[in-house]
């Protein structure tokens, strides 16, 4: 069942994105930025955590999870370090994603040639 819910929830989030592109005529950059902010907002009251428990990768793979992880990492650090934890923890959980995206993006750019 895990796989079914991952498919349905992940696909469902993409449908919302598609409607924002087609109907609201937003640019991809606007849609992605909106999604990240929504992800962060949903982390308040732990709503996004419940979605992850329910849908697994269906909730962690879409970009909304990036916003959630930013806030989540920040809040975890505040438990130990107080207010300053917001700044030190904000990239705590997303570090692997950002670092690997930078590394792989760079390496691919070095090795490949754009195909057009």
């Amino acid at each position: 069942m895990d796989y079914v819910w991952a498919f349905v929830v992940g696909g469902g989030i993409c449908i919302i994105g598609q409607l924002l592109l087609d109907v609201a005529k937003l640019t991809p950059a606007h849609v992605m930025s909106t999604f990240v902010v929504i992800g962060a907002v949903l982390d308040v009251f732990d709503l996004y955590d419940n979605l992850i428990k329910f849908a697994g990768a269906g909730a962690t793979v879409p970009i909304t999870s990036f916003g959630h992880s930013l806030l989540h990492g920040a809040m975890e650090q505040t438990k130990e370090h107080g207010f300053i934890g917001i700044a030190t923890g904000i990239f705590q959980l997303t570090s692997a994603g950002i670092a690997s995206a930078i590394l792989f993006g760079f390496l691919v750019a070095v090795i490949f040639k754009p195909k057009g």
């Binding site: 991952a6 993409c14 930025s33 902010v37 970009i63 390496l107 750019a109």
Partner: protein, 151 residues
């Protein structure tokens, strides 16, 4: 002459000439491709949990990293843009789309050198996601922290 094509009416009149996006087909394609990418993510998490004995939380990072690697390679091989034309948000919303926006911008500016081309332009498209994510998380974090410590 009727005022159908009058400068003020024009944008309204031409709506009938512009082919509409196939909303339903686009949504179905986005749903299937986006859903499948998430299923691959779920399978990768399972794989890392079973083979490396990671907890579900620990398996999250290698899962995302693997997806990003796959998307970066597909961008290099010139396939991700074709997937994107087919799937729309289905391949843009998952973290693989984030990797594609970084890799494609870096790759495109290779001709201007590694420093001014690749490195400078790496976040040209993905930058807005990080900026809005951090600003929103920072502000919400401060609010939440303040609420927690006031009551």
């Amino acid at each position: 002459m009727s005022d159908k094509f009058d400068q003020k009416q024009y944008q309204n009149t031409i709506k009938t000439y512009q082919p509409k996006p196939n909303y339903l087909a686009n949504c179905i394609k986005a749903f299937i491709v986006g859903g499948l990418i998430c299923v691959i993510g779920e399978a990768l998490t399972d794989f890392y949990m079973k083979v490396f004995d990671f907890s579900e939380k620990e398996a999250g990072n290698p899962t995302v990293t693997t997806l990003i690697l796959i998307a970066a390679l597909m961008t290099g091989f010139g396939v991700y843009d074709k997937l994107g034309q087919f799937a729309g948000a289905g391949s843009a919303v998952p973290v693989t789309g984030f990797a594609n926006s970084i890799t494609s911008a870096a790759l495109e500016h290779k001709s201007e050198g590694l420093v001014l081309g690749v490195a400078t332009n790496l976040f040209k498209l993905a930058g807005s996601v990080i900026v809005f994510g951090v600003v929103a998380a920072y502000i919400l974090g401060m609010l939440r922290y303040a609420l927690q410590h006031m009551f």
